[in-house]
Every structure is written in structure tokens, then in C-alpha cells.
């Protein structure tokens, strides 16, 4: 792997570097800043809209100017949490369960496999690695239908397991973990062996702490991936009580065309579902180590 060389400037995740000799305001500088701010505006408008629209009552949604706050926020909140006997809260908890448990397990499984592929030599290693690479290129989502059939045969279709289990395996995660694990020094591992540490102990006490920054990135990629997944739970689940937010909000919206009152619920539901993940992303932004993604490709 080619990690950023030591002479490299700080990564995006760290604080922006102090500009050397603050250049005076130039035409180019103003233009660059303007384009960036336009990009920011483009990305913020829909989020701003949903926050404003969530305050509108049913009557106001289609009648008042679209960016004018309304008077129905509390009613909408009440309606949302009352809908279907509190289904929205259940969907949120389900999303948290699938994404939280799924991404933690996925990160652990990937870390173990990546470490094994990077640090041991054994017959079959190349074959396993080839399989992982092939797996990266096969879009998991096109396997959703066959996965559903397997789950049906196992009697698991419709259960929470049917969403959770396929989310744990991530060939790309294993591939990335292998890139991270390659940076664990062989000498350190060997020294621990000479001291009599078992292989499992070496992984937990020596390798894992070194891998943490990379694994946090992996965890977040998986968390967002599972949280945002739609087709897998949409295919696997029939019971509304087990839906994650994405599928739940979709059902609200698809019924809204016949029952316009549900539009308001879909909107405030969307607003509420965006806030926690956006907050999490902003808080964890400093831990993103996405440079490893492109670094890994070179290695």
C-alpha cells in the first residue's frame, strides 16, 4: 500500500492547513469561493426545504410558498409518532439495529480476514484474495433476489436476520482491511511471537489498535451503506414492524398519492431521519480516512 508519504500535507480530515503567506484577494480566489458556495447551496437546498416543509400543516403544504414555514410542526410530529401505533419509532430503531450491529460485525469480520490475508502465508491465500476481488466487482444488490430465495429455503425470509446477515459480508471491506493490515510491521508481530503471545492475542493486542483509524472509516462506510440500503430490506421483509426507515418512508410516500395526508408524514419523517445521520457524519468527519481508498487501489 502506498500510504500518504510523510512529506504529504495534512489530509482533508485534519484541520485545514494554514495558508502559507495568505494570498491577497484575487479574481481567481473570488471565483473559486463562489463556485464552492454554489455547490454548498445546491447540496443544502433540499435539506433546508424538508426542514421548512416539515413545519407545514396538511393544508399549507400545497398552498403556501414552498420555503415559507408553516404552523403544523407539532401536529405533524404527533401524527408521525401516532401513525400505525408508533411505527416510525420502530423503523428508526430497526435502522439503528441493522446498521449498528451489521456494521460492527462487518468491520470485525473484515478486519480478521484482511489481517489473515496480509500477514500470513498459506496455501490458498491467493485464491481467497482473488475471490474477494471478484466479490468487490459483483454488485451485491443484483444478488438480492437469489439471496431472498436462499433465505426462503432457510426459513429466514421476513426475519430481521434476513437483512442483517447479508449486510455483514463486504468484499470491499475485506480488501480495505487487508490494505490497512499490511502496515502492521512484521518485526513487531514476530517480537510478540517470541515473547510467547498467541496469534489471537497478537491480533487483539497489537494489530487491532494499529488498525483502529482505518477500521473507523470502514465502520462508517458500512454503517451508511446499510442505513441507506433499500432494495435488500424491501425484498426480504413483509412485516411493517421490521422495516428500516428507508422502506417505511417509501411506504408512506407510495400511499400518499391516494391519501395526501401521508405526504406530510413522509416529509417530517424524512426530516427526522436525516438529522441523526447528518449529525453523526459531521461529528465523525475528522475520522474519515478516505485517502486509503485511493491509496489502496495503487497497492
Amino acid at each position: 500500500m502506498t500510504a500518504a508519504p510523510s512529506t504529504a500535507r495534512s489530509t482533508a480530515t485534519a484541520a485545514p492547513p494554514a495558508p502559507t503567506g495568505r494570498p491577497r484577494r484575487s479574481v481567481g480566489g473570488v471565483a473559486a469561493t463562489t463556485v464552492l458556495l454554489l455547490g454548498a447551496l445546491y447540496c443544502l437546498v433540499p435539506v433546508a426545504w424538508v426542514v421548512v416543509a416539515s413545519t407545514k400543516s396538511r393544508g399549507e403544504l400545497f398552498t403556501t410558498f414552498t420555503f415559507l414555514p408553516g404552523s403544523g410542526l407539532l401536529d405533524n410530529l404527533g401524527d408521525l409518532f401516532a401513525y400505525g401505533g408508533g411505527q416510525f419509532g420502530g423503523w428508526a430503531l430497526n435502522s439503528l439495529l441493522y446498521a449498528g450491529v451489521g456494521s460492527v460485525l462487518s468491520t470485525l469480520v473484515s478486519a480478521l480476514a484482511g489481517y489473515a490475508l496480509a500477514k500470513y502465508e498459506f496455501t490458498g491465500r491467493n485464491l481467497v484474495f482473488f475471490l474477494v476481488l471478484a466479490g468487490v466487482l459483483i454488485p451485491g444488490i443484483t444478488l438480492a433476489v437469489p439471496q431472498y430465495l436462499i433465505m426462503s429455503d432457510l426459513g429466514l425470509a421476513g426475519s430481521r436476520w434476513s437483512v442483517l446477515l447479508p449486510s455483514i459480508i463486504s468484499p470491499f471491506g475485506i480488501y480495505l482491511a487487508r490494505v490497512f493490515a499490511a502496515s502492521v510491521p512484521d518485526d513487531t508481530v514476530e517480537a510478540a511471537r517470541l515473547d510467547g503471545a498467541s496469534e489471537g492475542r497478537i491480533f487483539i493486542s497489537i494489530a487491532l489498535p494499529m488498525l483502529v483509524p482505518g477500521l473507523v472509516t470502514l465502520f462508517m462506510l458500512q454503517f451508511v451503506g446499510i442505513w441507506n440500503n433499500f432494495l435488500l430490506p424491501f425484498i426480504m421483509l413483509a412485516d411493517q414492524g421490521k422495516y428500516p426507515l428507508t422502506v417505511g418512508l417509501y411506504t408512506l410516500l407510495s400511499r400518499g398519492s391516494g391519501e395526501p395526508g401521508l405526504y406530510s408524514l413522509a416529509i417530517i419523517g424524512a426530516a427526522l431521519s436525516v438529522i441523526p445521520l447528518a449529525a453523526l457524519m459531521l461529528v465523525l468527519q475528522r475520522y474519515w480516512r478516505l485517502d486509503v481508498l485511493s491509496g489502496g487501489l495503487k497497492g
Binding site: P19, T142, P146, I150, F203, L231, V274
Partner: protein
């Protein structure tokens, strides 16, 4: 490769660095093989259960079909081996093929705009003269945290004539509502959702790889009289080519499996049919028509096409990434 016949390490050598420094040290093979396979076991188990077996099952199922046996009032439908019949049916299905055509139009809009904007934003963030970079970077990255379904819901209302601020503005200016949800605007509208959701993530990948370029290279170029534009296009863009290929690969795979966005917009528009993109056809054939063998054949075709295109993309760029000198 290296000789691995040594017995468990000699205590006497403890603390001394390995003679060949770096290359694999002599290892007690038996113990390590066990450790390696135990660590791989959970991943392999899941890999087999949820990737290999479904692929194998899909391949097998795609060769099966229902045939009428007997005939007359006593005829019954029996599952049997039908060869490549399902593939022939899938390829002959004009709607399934039209779905790929629509995917092409959608992808031709979504991929270049996502990558182009991501590259422009990344270069601007890296430009010395730009201000408000921290705010912009965070704001542009924010949509990554919004699920595609929710993004489609948000944009859907921004497209819907009754709630769209853009249509309102256009109406005020005398242009009437903008038909975002009608053909052919619908392609741009769905593509826009993908661009919105993807530009920030790709921007960060490109930007982080820009930050990895040593400052000295720019200094040298500046001394040689290169302007910031020349540095950006002649030095930065070629150096982040691997990141561009990676983001291109992600975008390509993402394009081929688009499903949630058009499905979410469907209740709002008649321009999106039940078979608008291939995955929607697969879903319909599997669950509405109960024709699982046909859906399996279509899944195999879609996955196969994705792999072929990915390999072609990586091959075409192999020299640029791995070669160089």
C-alpha cells in the same frame, strides 16, 4: 515461498532483528495456517452463504423453467431444465432492453456530472486562493448521509409542480411550471438525485488524494513559471488519476444498480414505468409475476454486465495507474 520449515522460533534469537529485514521471517507453518484459516472463517462462511451460493443458485435457476406436462385438462406445470431459454426470453424482451437504454441515458448524465463536479470542487478546495473551504466541504459532503430513498423523496417534492420552488420561480417569470417529472426531463431529474447524493463522497476521495501530493512538486512547477491553472490540469489531475478511476468505478457500479430513486419517484409521476430500469424489471418478474427463473437470468445478465464493464474500465486505466515509468 520462503522456507517455512523452521521449528518454533529460537528463544536465543529473541530481540535480534531478522536477518533479511522486511521479507517474511521463518515461521512455524502449522500453527500459522490454523490461525489464518480461523481468522478467515467467519468471512468465508458468510461469503459462501451470501455471495457464492446465491450466484450458483441464480445460475442454476436461470436454466430452469416451468413446462406444461401432459396437456389437456390434466396438464400440469412442472419445473424442468430449459437450457438458455430464459436468457433468450430476457434478451428478446423489448422492455428489459429498453431499461438498459434508459440506464444509458441516465448514466450518461449522472456519471460525468458527478465526477466532473467532484473533481472541480476537489481542485477548488485544494486551491490556495479559495475561502470558506471548510463550510463548503462539509455542506457538499452532507448528502452522502441522506439515503437515496429520502433524497428522492426530497427532490420529488422539489420537482412536484405544487411544491417546487423552481417551478414557482419559473411561473412567476411567466415560464410556467417546469415539467421535471415528465419525459424527457425525468432522466435529468433522476440523474440529478444521483449527482446530489454522490458528488460529496467522490469529492472527498479526490480531495484526500490531492492532499497526499507533496507540496514540493508545486513549488518546482511555480519556479518554472506554471500558473495555478496549469498546475491543476497538468500536475494535479494526472496525479489523482487513480482516485478518478476508483470514483468512476463506484459510479459505474452505482449506475447499473439504480433502483431506489426511480422506485421512490414512481408514485409522483407516470413517466416512470414499472420496468424503468433493469433492476425494476427483475423485481417485477420475481415478485409480481412469480417468474423466478426469468428474474434469475436477468440478474445474471445484469451482474455479468457490471463485472465486464468494471474489468474493462480497470484494464483501460491499468497503465495509467500502475505504470507511469
Amino acid at each position: 515461498m520462503a522456507s517455512t520449515t523452521a521449528p518454533p522460533a529460537h528463544p536465543a534469537r529473541a530481540g535480534t532483528p531478522s536477518e533479511d529485514g522486511g521479507s517474511p521471517v521463518r515461521r512455524p507453518r502449522q500453527r500459522h495456517r490454523l490461525a489464518a484459516w480461523s481468522m478467515l472463517a467467519p468471512a468465508l462462511l458468510l461469503f459462501v452463504a451470501f455471495l457464492l451460493v446465491p450466484i450458483g443458485y441464480a445460475l442454476w435457476l436461470s436454466l430452469r423453467g416451468l413446462r406444461l406436462e401432459g396437456g389437456g385438462p390434466f396438464g400440469r406445470r412442472v419445473e424442468t431444465f430449459v437450457g438458455l431459454e430464459n436468457y433468450a426470453t430476457a434478451i428478446a424482451d423489448a422492455e428489459f432492453l429498453a431499461g438498459f437504454g434508459r440506464l444509458l441515458v441516465y448514466g450518461a448524465l449522472a456519471v460525468p456530472f458527478t465526477l466532473g463536479l467532484a473533481l472541480v470542487f476537489a481542485l477548488l478546495l485544494d486551491a490556495r486562493a479559495a475561502r470558506a473551504t471548510r463550510f463548503s466541504r462539509t455542506a457538499i459532503f452532507l448528502p452522502y448521509a441522506v439515503p437515496g430513498v429520502v433524497a428522492s423523496l426530497l427532490w420529488g417534492f422539489l420537482y412536484l409542480p405544487g411544491t417546487s420552488p423552481f417551478s414557482w420561480l419559473s411561473d412567476q417569470l411567466g415560464g410556467g411550471a417546469i415539467p421535471f417529472l415528465l419525459d424527457p426531463w425525468i432522466f435529468a431529474s433522476v440523474a440529478n438525485i444521483a449527482v446530489w447524493g454522490g458528488v460529496g463522497f467522490n469529492m472527498i476521495i479526490i480531495y484526500t488524494s490531492l492532499r497526499g501530493i507533496p507540496e514540493e512538486i508545486y513549488e518546482a512547477a511555480r519556479i518554472d513559471g506554471a500558473g495555478e491553472w496549469q498546475i491543476a490540469w497538468r500536475i494535479k489531475v494526472p496525479l489523482v488519476a487513480p482516485a478518478l478511476v476508483l470514483t468512476g468505478l463506484f459510479s459505474l457500479i452505482g449506475t447499473l444498480q439504480v433502483y431506489g430513486e426511480p422506485t421512490t419517484l414512481r408514485p409522483m409521476t407516470s413517466a416512470i414505468s414499472q420496468t424503468w430500469v433493469p433492476l425494476m424489471t427483475i423485481y417485477r418478474d420475481a415478485f409480481t409475476r412469480d417468474d423466478l427463473p426469468l428474474a434469475a437470468a436477468e440478474s445474471v445478465l445484469l451482474a455479468g454486465l457490471t463485472v465486464v464493464l468494471s474489468v474493462v474500465l480497470l484494464r483501460l486505466n491499468q497503465r495509467r495507474i500502475f505504470g507511469g515509468s
